[in-house]
């Protein structure tokens, strides 16, 4: 099946969220899967059930630094997004046998694990937690929303992200250290190369034929 690709570049979270919601409606109507790629300007986001006083260690200090804290309609706890983190939003209409949320999340983890293998990084799951880890360090967060079996939100993979803001939270409610591709490689990591590899992996895992990338200039 053909899959649309939209690259939003660097974009604030809410603008990208509105585009996601438009895309969800389009996918519901047309059933053509779409992958949105982007990087967000610095922001902390909380999942639907996250409590600001829970995993955000110092909300006042975060706001003083001019970083927004936004509540959003995905699963999971709190996380940080910023430049250098690749965001991939797979907007897919799930049909059987993929109408199985654990299986879908597992496949997204596989996408990241095999992508990292391409860069020579051995990654794994941590039993009982969704996301991808390098040894005990978290490198990718995964959280989704599902509306009428269309998925939205998705993967946040640290490519060359400034990891210091993660010290202000317990990412996804965990006492874990974060890492990135650049930190693991001890070298610069090309965002363009990571984007291409995540598209290749999504194509393999979900049996998709990726169409040309549409660079959206609305941001």
């Amino acid at each position: 099946m053909q899959c649309h690709i939209i690259d939003l570049g660097l974009i604030d979270f809410l603008s990208a969220y509105h585009i996601q919601q438009q895309t969800v409606r389009k996918v519901l109507d047309e059933r053509i899967p779409t992958v949105i790629l982007c990087e967000h300007r610095p922001v902390f986001t909380l999942g639907r059930l996250a409590r600001e006083g829970g995993s955000l260690l110092d909300p006042g200090s975060i706001r003083q630094q001019g970083i927004d804290i936004l509540r959003t309609d995905r699963g999971g706890d709190v996380t940080f997004h910023g430049p250098g983190q690749l965001i991939a939003y797979p907007i897919f209409f799930l049909k059987e046998p993929l109408r199985d949320l654990k299986r879908f999340l597992y496949k997204l983890e596989d996408v990241v694990i095999d992508l990292l293998k391409y860069f020579g990084i051995v990654a794994n799951r941590l039993n009982g937690y969704t996301g991808v880890f390098v040894r005990e360090k978290k490198i990718a967060s995964i959280g989704i929303g599902v509306k009428k079996w269309v998925t939205y939100h998705g993967i946040g993979l640290n490519v060359s992200t400034d990891l210091s803001p993660f010290s202000l939270v317990k990412p996804c409610g965990l006492d874990v250290t974060m890492t990135s591709i650049a930190r693991e490689l001890k070298a610069d990591a090309s965002m363009d190369l990571v984007k291409q590899e995540i598209l290749d992996q999504l194509a393999k895992k979900f049996d998709l034929k990726m169409m040309d990338i549409c660079h959206d200039k609305r941001n």
Binding site: L49, D100, K102, F104, T130, G145
Partner: protein
Amino acid sequence: MTKEIKVPFLGDGIDKVTIAEWHYKPEDVVSQGEDFFELEADKALFNVPCEKKCILRTILVPAGQEASIGQAVAIVEDL
């Protein structure tokens, strides 16, 4: 006619969910296709749509509480 709204099957290995949010309160009319309530399972937030226009009579499991797959979480009256 009243009927129960139950937690849908979300896949193998998901036995329990948390009710994340109710979009309606008792005595509200809910239209077909509208997002009725949200469930969270693992890292997925699942919107449960209303299958048939109805009045929400009783919420049996409020937001923040757990429910099992197949458990009744609300009572509605079809319109």
